[in-house]
Symmetry: C2
């Protein structure tokens, strides 16, 4: 048997949850930002957590309450590992941005510890462990961000035992422009504010939008994305939490975006675009629009079909 690894570092990208049309069931990786987690084998059982990076001071370091820590514990438990780990988290994804940072930390934690195992877990097991981590941050096993961060690209996912995650093809040349304004929203509060009921009319329209986007993606048809990437169900209940949302959305659409909505529960706003150059222009225009509202922001561009979580270093 080869010498067991002592240390493994995993990188998990940010992600765009919901993707306008797939509340809780669609997400896509956003590779321009990522969290890094290094797991070091320890003779002490359990998990110790360290965390650094912008905005990380508010993140709990108790392993049971930390997304990466909890995911790591779940991997250790599932694999019956007789050892523990020291985890070092480097947050690259802005905290509270709506870019799936908690999910990415959970995924990176699970993948890093998995890298230390003699026998790797399956992807479904890793997803399950990462969901255990996500749950401690948001109070729910919200799968869309977690699955996208783990698998990369666009993912259809449904919670359950076992959870299900399936990659959806996307057109070559599909890029995501994303702007993160200096505004903070708590995911749990945003979720609690949603109405328990929707009109059948809106539900059917949203289902048409969902079907149109999935068919458009699988068939590489940008015209379907341009028509159906619209959220008529959740966005109307949430956009008010992000000042300037409609102006930014309108500016993105006028500049040629296929569709534009909140990333997860916001405050970040994403726009799908045909081609990297257009996505770059749209990102700039969205930031400028926030700036005109007196709101600072950062923006990025990422290919939608980008890589998921990966082991980046082992010792």
């Amino acid at each position: 048997m080869a010498n067991p690894l002592e240390s493994c570092t995993a990188r998990a990208p940010g992600s765009v949850g919901n993707v306008a049309v797939g509340f809780d069931i669609l997400g896509h990786a956003f590779d321009a930002v990522a969290d890094l987690v290094t797991a070091r084998r320890s003779s002490s059982a359990g998990v110790r957590v360290m965390c650094s990076g912008p905005g990380s001071s508010g993140i709990p370091l108790d392993a049971e309450r930390n997304t990466a820590g909890k995911a790591a514990l779940a991997v250790l438990q599932l694999s019956h590992a007789p050892w523990g780990v020291d985890l070092e988290i480097i947050k690259g994804i802005p905290v509270g941005s709506g870019l799936g940072g908690s999910g990415a930390s959970a995924v990176a934690g699970a993948v890093a510890v998995n890298g230390l195992l003699e026998t790797s877990l399956t992807q479904t097991q890793l997803l399950d462990c990462a969901l255990d981590g996500e749950e401690v941050a948001t109070g729910a096993r919200v799968i869309d961000n977690v699955a996208a961060s783990l698998l990369g690209g666009l993912v259809f996912a449904v919670e359950g035992k076992p959870p299900l995650a399936r990659s959806v093809a996307v057109p070559d040349g599909l890029y995501c422009a994303l702007v993160h304004p200096d505004v903070v929203i708590a995911t749990e509060k945003s979720r609690a504010g949603l109405s328990d009921h929707v009109s059948r009319c809106d539900a059917v329209r949203q289902m048409a939008n969902l079907a149109g986007v999935i068919v458009g993606c699988e068939q590489s048809d940008f015209s379907l994305l341009g028509r159906f990437l619209r959220d008529v169900m959740i966005e109307p209940q949430r956009f008010g939490q992000v000042r300037g949302f409609h102006q930014v959305q309108e500016a993105a659409m006028e500049a040629g975006a296929l569709g534009c909505s909140l990333s997860g529960s916001g405050p970040s706003i994403f726009a799908w675009c045909q081609g990297e150059a257009l996505a770059g222009r749209v990102a700039t225009i969205m930031s400028q629009e926030f700036s005109q509202q007196g709101i600072g922001s950062r923006s990025w561009v990422s290919k939608v079909d980008s890589r998921g979580a990966q082991v980046t270093e082992t010792l």
Copy 2:
């Protein structure tokens, strides 16, 4: 210029509307039953309608109130034809079965008259004209059946100006078993009985089911169809109109169907199956179950990826 045709006969298959997960937006052709419409060029302007076949006595013969007649009028108007047609409709699709008979007659009427034109209409124009016909039967431009009958196979469709219809790939070997019990339901009444609101929870579950079925179809993954071909939104509001529904559904699922629900608003019940042999067994079992409830029925099997409307004879 070639001699203009004097007569054209078109065949349009029945269809399964909604397909459990896509209320108003998904339909698939059901080629085991079909309506035939013959259009004969006439020097008299306008459209005269004759109709034969089981159950056809209740069908209005006034062209403005007849689905094929109205669709034919729409084609003549759109093409600025200086002549009229005599239409002969042969109903092969049981009237009031939930097998898209009104839509099929409208499609066959439009396609038959189109066959007489020097310059054919586009498929989108034909769809639009057929929807004019469907509207006089049901009071709404319900597109799922009409688009499936016109295009064949599984179709994603959304009403609008212009209407949109897109073929969705399905796995090879996907068959539909269908049973039509001797029960009559009026589509308009069934639609009016639907609740105006749905719980967000049910809407999100149904959206997961819709996404799962489309991804499963496009990726030829029967396991996704077996998990997600479930209607949690509309079926619970409608199944009570069909006595014995749950027993028939349970029998189909126990026999190995991927999913089973109402065809459109019923009373017909369809079940998707992997393989023609299994579909045959499921069709028999569903009929037997109705029989045990004291209800007569007929059953058929059709490949889901079957042909749409076609011109079958010209003179």
